[in-house]
Symmetry: C2
Subunit: 197 residues, 2 copies
């Protein structure tokens, strides 16, 4: 009998957030309890507004509050390159580099037979529909996991009839890391991908 | 231009939670976006229900959904001992030890002149009102910080006319810690508080 039932319920709802354990969840529940009314209203409005106003860009499937997302409608972007990512978060991370000037395609998942997610459950059809004469390169930037890898291979196979260049992000040692702590698979990939200096 | 404005707003509201940085907040914002409708409804109902149904126990000032909290109304508790804590979280932590059988008193803050919090802004008057012939010991369990320490000293002074025993939690090395990493103040307190074995 420590938390009151309502606080227990709130902490339970928060504990489902990614990266939060039971202790952090209960700390945040107390924080929400101590919020001013206007802070609490803003939190709830922000949740509702995000969930109501955000849908998918009809071109790249990225999260967007408009029919066509700001990136797809930006005439300065390089329409010859499409970077395929698993989710909107990944597109955000690449975008934050301020280096990539092409377009994105967000799959919203990866093929994962164990989770019963097949090719038709992610936005692959929408990607193929975008491959026309203007697209020169498709960068497969799914995560370096088994599922991400398998999804990339599957998409590469589907893209081969289009004659478009298909690339994959490089594997190797993270910058600043020590060889000592690199796992053997990463080290092997770094060796395979070695380049002249 | 990475997050959409609504997602940015939601991540901003979440970033104010304790212990969360900007990256975790944006990760949680995406998670909330991907919740099912029923999960999102449950989250919002849990927030509203906690904020509406929880107030303070009229005796110990701990958070409670009833006029008198379950601990104060439990006849098996030892009413001769009151443990004074800064907040409901601290009472929860002590309660989770399943060792302390007395009552609590929640101050809801500590005296902190820098933050403009004086003795009248925390529940000290309510504590004094509880000191009658039946209370034998008051355990001051405020945090081992400057403010917690000052608040404890101030309460000790107010309690002296009542002739009640006033104690403070022990300072010392955390169990399992190494001397090497202990800060000098803690080490000094551990030395001062040494006991025969």
């Amino acid at each position: 009998m420590s938390l009151t039932p309502s606080l227990e319920r709130l902490a339970g709802a928060i504990a489902s957030f990614p990266g939060l354990g039971r202790k952090s969840a209960s700390r945040i529940a107390y924080h929400i309890l101590n919020m001013t009314d206007s802070e609490a209203t803003e939190l709830i409005n922000a949740i509702n507004s995000a969930r109501e106003s955000i849908s998918r860009c009809s071109k790249c499937q990225n999260l967007s509050e408009t029919e066509i997302c700001p990136i797809c409608s930006d005439s300065r972007r390089d329409v010859t390159t499409i970077c395929v990512v698993e989710d909107a978060k990944a597109a955000e991370v690449i975008e934050s580099l301020h280096e990539y000037k092409g377009l994105y395609h967000v799959l919203h998942g990866v093929i994962s037979p164990l989770d019963d997610i097949g090719p038709d459950d992610i936005a692959i059809t929408e990607l193929l529909a975008r491959i026309d004469g203007s697209v020169k390169e498709v960068i497969l930037a799914t995560n370096p996991s088994t599922e991400g890898e398998a999804t990339a291979m599957y998409i590469k196979m589907l893209l081969s009839p289009f004659g478009v260049k298909v690339t994959r992000l490089a594997y190797g040692l993270p910058v600043g890391a020590s060889l000592e702590f690199a796992d053997s698979v990463t080290l092997l990939r770094a060796l395979e991908g070695r380049s002249d200096i």
